[in-house]
Symmetry: C2
Subunit: 346 residues, 2 copies
Amino acid sequence: MKTHRIALIPGDGIGADVTEASWSVLQKAAGSAGFALEGTEFPWSCAFYKETGAMMPQDGIETLRGFDAILLGAVGWPQQVPDSVSLHGLLLPIRKSFVQYANIRPHRLLPGVQGPLRADAFDILCIRENTEGEYSGAGGRIHQGTANEVAVETSIFTRTGVERILRFAFEQARNRRGKLASVTKSNAQKYSMVFWDEVTHQLAADYPDVEVTSYHIDAMAARMVMAPESLDVVVASNLFGDILTDLGAAIQGGLGFAASANINPDRSAPSMFEPVHGSAPDIAHLGIANPIATIWSGAMMLDHLGETDAAAAIMAAIERTTAGGMGTIPGKDRTEAITATVLAAL
Amino acid sequence: MKTHRIALIPGDGIGADVTEASWSVLQKAAGSAGFALEGTEFPWSCAFYKETGAMMPQDGIETLRGFDAILLGAVGWPQQVPDSVSLHGLLLPIRKSFVQYANIRPHRLLPGVQGPLRADAFDILCIRENTEGEYSGAGGRIHQGTANEVAVETSIFTRTGVERILRFAFEQARNRRGKLASVTKSNAQKYSMVFWDEVTHQLAADYPDVEVTSYHIDAMAARMVMAPESLDVVVASNLFGDILTDLGAAIQGGLGFAASANINPDRSAPSMFEPVHGSAPDIAHLGIANPIATIWSGAMMLDHLGETDAAAAIMAAIERTTAGGMGTIPGKDRTEAITATVLAAL
Ligand SMILES: CC(C)[C@H](C(=O)O)[C@@H](O)C(=O)O
Ligand SMILES: CC(C)[C@H](C(=O)O)[C@@H](O)C(=O)O
């Protein structure tokens, strides 16, 4: 029997609840489809940091490298460990070390979910550059604590980095409705964003079947709210993609429904699947976290592993669940009840 | 009779239409309130650039310095002049040279306007840092055109810059509902944004009557869509404020309703008032631009000049206009008709 080896990192807060929920659904889907998922759990988290002084062991990345994929819950517990430590010690190194340069996030309303917009017929795939740009971590501060203090933060964009994410996005657009929106702010950031626009323009020649349009990030944020149905695939830098995908989560009814995949398209290292939401320490262990985002992320994992039928079965089960009203109202249904309904629908 | 000297810069595209509309309303309001507005028009624009090779004359900034305020329509005509030239040659130098460090943008639904959200009871004042940060213009590119190419863009935040915008925002919050949201991304940008958070925290001690909360930009974008009624004053960096105010424009029904003021709070140089929308070359000279954003911006100008009664009269006239349905549906009513209705309501 085909076996996929999965690293499970529940992380902090509600991460544990939603990972467990997703894992049970994945196991059932695997069983029905006739393949095996072998999970190995890693307790890397803020609690782990408090004990050991590191978010993961020194050889953590090497350990993960042997797996076929990673399923992650959520990282961060700002009251205990500054985000700048926890995220830079676990989540971001995984994305960067494994060259998971494409962060994919689908935004559409599940049946039965009422979003904040009057508009409801949209189906957007956001693709976020995930390894460089505004989150390069380059910068510094001088004259700290004085009136003279200056902080700088440098965005670094490489041709390799920009070209590969754009090619990936062109390919996705080709397999969907053929429309690509490339998001920059070249009227105000004349080095990084003008460069991105140039590369977009150059690559467009290779994808004559894709209609590509450049938008400024401010205009795109407005468009996602005013005319989301006009969008198909949206590609953006690390920061811009980060913002647009939270906005995408909002218009699809909230973070409880927002799934994501951190993909290494070359398959030279494992890809990672995680909900867009964070660890939500305030509701940790109350059993009321919505597991749908993580279950959906699990389906994206199966898709990536080539188990497309099982992935589709999970998506159908999620849709039957929300169509029945279960899990559609934030905070109303318990994690267990939602998971049980998805399992039953599977 | 008290006279305020105003520099008028219609700029490009629909800028001319909306400036003219706003100016006629301002003149009538001044007449009724017993003060004078003396306007001097400057043709600085992309057309001016095509003729002279510069967006404004070399001594443009010095010329403007003598005025009490500037009313600007819109700058930019990307088909003719790259935005990176037109904006860096006119709009941005004015904001920076005159230390208009506070860009203020009110977001609420005018009566009769249906926004894209189901929610309609919100009243947000966004305050955007307007002189430094992500739009510092510092950066460069190497190995241009090769596979090795790298572009960098550096955000520069100074303590002076961060402290003054935050103090300004705390003051505004104090005069409104006492709630301030400070927006950063300190979990991913550990120099600039951690610095901003620190300064926020330090200043909070001086404003015990203001409840200040830090949000990440991604979470704030989602919040503006999911729970806009929870927000009062929102303060953010140049880029983050730029994005949030277009989102604010979207939730208030579109760019036709989004007013803005570029304020020099020390009054050491003139402040500038302009709609959030751009020049919209595609509808230039069709007579269908919505002038409400620019009329509202004009009211903000009068407020800044101390003519608070006349400013309030204009706002009341705008509200009567939209309450009657005029100007509320994008593209439906002509610029002239909307302006005439506001004038009649005044
Ligand atoms: C937690 C944070 C660093 C992360 C990011 O910005 O990448 C998150 O917001 C996300 O969108 O995955
Ligand atoms: C035109 C552009 C440079 C400008 C900005 O980003 O400042 C505009 O988007 C705005 O919001 O005023």
